[in-house]
Subunit: 234 residues, 2 copies
DNA sequence: TCCGTTTTGTTCTCCCGTTCACAAACTCCT
DNA sequence: AGGAGTTTGTGAACGGGAGAACAAAACGGA
């Protein structure tokens, strides 16, 4: 229902309307590819070049970009810097997003140290852990603080995005607390299904699931290799 | 073309034929949910219960399971242990998969220490790093070894799955070496697009991309909240 | 044994995403 | 200025997945 709302009417402030989810998921990939091209000194690129750099089909790339607007020039291609800015603006990474990370185990530390966040518009404003033994530590130049400080930190820094890197058993509690203090986007690394209100976005990253998917295909490959040619048994 | 091969003919050893990719990606989720249920002492569950535990629609769950075979009992539900075994077998995690991890930075260490691998049919047989300064270290009870040992380790342990946790610039080289010594499945944490031969599977996990997707939706939320009601400007 | 209840397995329809193919538009060269 | 060559933006066809809805099958009680 909500989906067809206002497709004909147009308000002033909208270049952005109704970008498909699949496209949104690829925009960061394009952004990265464009950054690489820019670093190489490329000023202009065709959809084909960018598609190769991003690892996708050029038709798909063009259609994706068309949802943002007409930022290319026919017969020429795309201006790398210009397109990069437009995509960054569309995603929202021209501004700085404050982020809190909860759970400073191995993964939490890796995340805290990950330079890819800072360079892409995210700033880790706090590391939280429930274990008092960790509250003395400094990870990635940031003090580890008690989990109970969450409310205050979220308020002080106007945090909207939280990262959960705790064990599975703690994840739901952490999510509840995050939601309670106004966080509306959660990146969950814990292997558990989170129950959150409708308006809260949750994305899940599960390291072992990815490996299991690979294992499935790997198993099929070796199976097939061992098989005689299909139908030879008849 | 290849896809429609032998859909009518049936060889002896196949319960498994043509499982949709979307389903494959969910099987590990079901597996985890079943393990949780089993730990709680649940012996039997309905598709509805399991669907809730896995965070999916029950119709979708039933359809997914139907690709594996008929492992439920109408009017009763699914036997938790039996279904769990069947899914594990289908994915291929009843056997043990030897895995090598290349790149022992923060992320590599987190991966090496991640208990979720071992408990799910994966065994880290080697940690490799190009930096000689790291070759004395022991991470997660495993010696860090020179990257050049890759060939020998892959041969000795019959490794089919490799994990790349290096910086982006090194990723393609590592992938090439992996492919050269017979690895056919790669899990790539480096933020770069890998070029590999057709028969090699690559899955990519990009931490910052997930955050950017959240940022996009977050931006829209706040934007909409600031907007007057659609059409009120006219 | 038979009927009502429960729950699976499957069919059917709809929608989203991908890809093809082409018209529109821009540049360059003559 | 005009035509040839390029490359974008998009309409249309196609394929696959999601969800609703139902028929088939198992159980339990009388």
């Amino acid at each position: 229902m909500e989906k067809t709302r206002a497709v004909t009417a147009r308000t002033s402030s909208e270049s952005t309307r109704d970008i498909p989810e699949a496209t949104v998921a690829r925009l960061p990939v394009y952004l990265r590819a464009l950054t690489t091209l820019a670093d190489q000194g490329t000023g202009t690129c065709s959809s084909e070049e960018l598609a190769v750099a991003a690892g996708v089909n050029s038709a798909k790339l063009r259609k994706d970009l068309s949802y943002l607007g007409s930022y290319g020039t026919r017969g020429v291609g795309y201006d790398v810097d210009y397109l990069r800015y437009q995509i960054a603006r569309e995603i929202g990474v021209t501004q700085d997003w404050p982020v809190v990370i909860v759970g400073i185990g191995n993964l939490g530390q890796a995340l805290a140290n990950y330079s890819g966040f800072r360079s892409r518009g995210f700033r880790v404003v706090a590391l939280l852990d429930a274990d008092p033994a960790r509250h003395d530590e400094v990870v990635a130049g940031i003090d580890v603080r008690p989990f109970d400080d969450l409310e205050q930190i979220v308020r002080d820094h106007d945090v909207a995005i939280g990262v959960i890197a705790t064990p599975a058993v703690a994840a739901q509690d952490v999510a509840d607390r995050m939601v309670a203090c106004g966080i509306t986007s959660i990146l969950n690394f814990a292997p558990s299904v989170l129950a959150v209100p409708e308006q809260v976005d949750v994305r899940k990253v599960d390291l072992s699931i990815e490996l299991q998917i690979l294992a499935y295909h790997e198993q099929r490959k070796t199976q097939h290799a061992a098989d005689p040619v299909e139908g030879a048994s008849a």
